[in-house]
């Protein structure tokens, strides 16, 4: 056995970097959140002000609105991705020529920078240069204007997220479906179960762990969506697509009210953890207790 000192020495740079840029910011933001601090205000000093910042955040209509649209965005985006992703994963279970190529093409959006995805969808949907408003207008006479219609802007951000991230869901669910044993399905078919029964009673329970893990990952990522929305709509029109990350970037960060900004950050971090915890408890715990 080699000396432990060498082991710690090899680990030290990693721990140092992650400590300075991961742990310190985490505690620092909590510390600042309890202070009044605005370097450009009449009093630029840092003053402890208890939970004042948090009280301000909780009654901030802009922040609450942004939380609301974030929840709606995450719900619609992740749900759509799950449904489409599952259907595509099932479609991949058959054998057909060119499967590998189609799978590769399907993976392509995953490696693209979110900001490029935003840029692409901006070029697709901006009135007068985008192809989508043009086609909608000439086919259905529908005037799509993401700069004016809140609903349209929201829908396009969801569609963009679905385009970008459904492949991840598809590929993780393929991995889950491939690993399923064939016996229960053959048995169920012999017993005369229909497709829907097989899905609800056999497939779903068996791939549930993979589904939970996928939802978990997508939820965490959707909650922190910033770049692409910033690029596509800039959070507008109004606050229709100002999701929390966008809100922090556009409204909180430039205000130089550091105490308040930190309180917003702490609350968002807290809510992210709570959402994940609820999901974990809600989806994993019941199954664990059933198993005994």
């Amino acid at each position: 056995m080699q000396s432990r000192k060498l082991g710690w020495l090899l680990l030290a740079p990693t721990l140092a970097v992650l400590f300075l840029f991961g742990v310190v910011p985490f505690f620092y933001v909590i510390y600042v959140a309890f202070h009044q601090w605005n370097p450009f205000a009449a009093n630029p000093e840092m003053i402890f002000n208890g939970a004042d910042n948090f009280r301000q955040v909780v009654f901030d209509a802009g922040f609450l609105a942004s939380l609301g649209v974030t929840m709606a965005f995450v719900f619609f985006a992740v749900l759509t991705e799950l449904i489409i992703g599952y259907l595509l994963a099932q479609a991949f279970m058959k054998d057909f020529p060119g499967k590998a190529i189609f799978r590769t093409i399907h993976t392509l959006p995953l490696i693209m920078a979110p900001i490029i995805v935003g840029s692409i969808w901006k070029l697709m949907t901006t009135p007068s240069i985008g192809i989508i408003p043009h086609l909608l207008d000439s086919w259905f006479g529908y005037d799509l204007n993401i700069g004016q219609s809140a609903g349209a802007a929201f829908a396009i951000t969801v569609i963009m997220d679905v385009w970008h991230w459904t492949p991840l869901v598809t590929l993780t669910l393929i991995a889950a479906l491939v690993s399923l044993p064939p016996d229960p399905f053959e048995q169920a078919q012999i017993d005369g179960a229909n497709k829907r029964q097989i899905f609800w009673h056999i497939t779903l329970p068996m791939i549930a762990p993979a589904v939970v893990a996928t939802v978990f990952i997508r939820l965490m990522d959707a909650l922190r969506t910033v770049d692409e929305v910033l690029m596509l709509t800039g959070g507008g029109p109004g606050s229709a697509t100002r999701y929390v990350g966008v809100h922090i970037f556009k409204e909180v960060f430039p205000r130089t009210n550091y105490g308040y900004g930190s309180a917003v950050s702490v609350i968002v971090l807290y809510l992210t953890i709570v959402v994940c915890w609820l999901l974990y408890v809600g989806m994993l715990a019941p199954r664990n207790t059933k198993k005994g």
Partner: protein, 278 residues
């Protein structure tokens, strides 16, 4: 088992692939059109190719600097993360360190934090705390290289761990018996065997750093701006030069497309962080 006509599947997947590829194709179409043509009826078919947008981008000094910054930051960050990750994995794999599994798990959790939450503390720390005399990390390439470690280093550790664990310990021990120094064992015995894993890690961390926007936008002002921030600047300041914007996007997209073929299989594992075997 069902046996249906494969043509139905193929047609279906051609349609899905079309939905995937069309937006990317559209980006290219806009990038090779002069501004005048863009505002006439949107045309799906390319009738002529107009390279001026690309030439304009390459002739723009600011954008060239941004490109260079992006290259330096992503390369520096990828090399740093892969090296540190490799050392860390070697330590975790070969030494009997107390609480090493907790340390491993803790490094991973660093990646899960939403970056928007860390904008403000990182900005404040870099301007107020992490400074030596007049030198602060804000708006420096080295600062960005270090900041990107928060998400890339955990990733490197996570992907390299199985690779390093997979190298038999007997090889190290044999080398030690022959009188090799620990440094020699790491660099001449373990490192060559880990090369494939290291290459994948290097490529993926490079792409993640290259693609990053949010932190670059808030933690740089002028000196260390990256190509992604250049893209967003272009949109907000001029707003109308769609061709140029598309050309910058294509430039930003190219490296990802190049490495896509090489690491395609590892992308899902990378993005899901191994929560699901991809």
């Amino acid at each position: 088992m069902r046996r249906k006509n494969p043509w139905l599947s193929i047609l279906f997947w051609i349609f899905i692939s079309f939905l995937t590829l069309f937006p990317i194709y559209w980006l290219f179409v806009v990038s090779v059109k002069p501004a005048v043509e863009l505002f006439s009826t949107p045309d799906v078919i390319l009738r002529s190719v107009y390279w001026q947008n690309y030439i304009d981008v390459l002739n723009d000094r600011t954008l060239r600097e941004y490109m260079l910054n992006s290259l330096i930051i992503s390369t520096g960050n990828a090399l740093l993360c892969t090296t540190l990750g490799f050392f860390a994995c070697y330590a975790l794999s070969r030494f009997d360190l107390s609480g090493k599994e907790s340390i491993f798990f803790w490094t991973i959790t660093n990646r899960m934090a939403p970056p928007a939450v860390f904008l403000l503390p990182l900005f404040l720390l870099m301007t107020q705390v992490y400074r030596i005399g007049d030198f602060s990390l804000l708006d420096t390439r080295i600062g960005m290289i270090l900041v990107y470690c928060t998400f890339n280093l955990p990733f490197a550790i996570w992907t390299l761990r199985p690779t390093v664990d997979g190298i038999p310990k007997e090889l190290d021990e044999a080398a030690f018996v022959d009188g090799a120094s620990p440094w020699k064992v790491i660099t001449e015995v373990v490192f060559p065997l880990c090369r494939p894993g290291l290459a994948v890690t290097l490529i993926l961390t490079w792409v993640f750093a290259w693609n990053e926007y949010l932190l670059a936008a808030t933690l740089t002002n002028f000196n260390a701006r990256t190509l992604t921030t250049g893209l967003s600047e272009y949109v907000t300041t001029t707003g109308t030069e769609w061709g140029i914007m598309a050309a910058i996007s294509v430039f930003t997209l190219i490296p990802a497309l190049i490495v896509f073929g090489m690491v395609q299989r590892h992308i899902v594992t990378g993005l899901t962080f191994g929560a699901v075997k991809g």
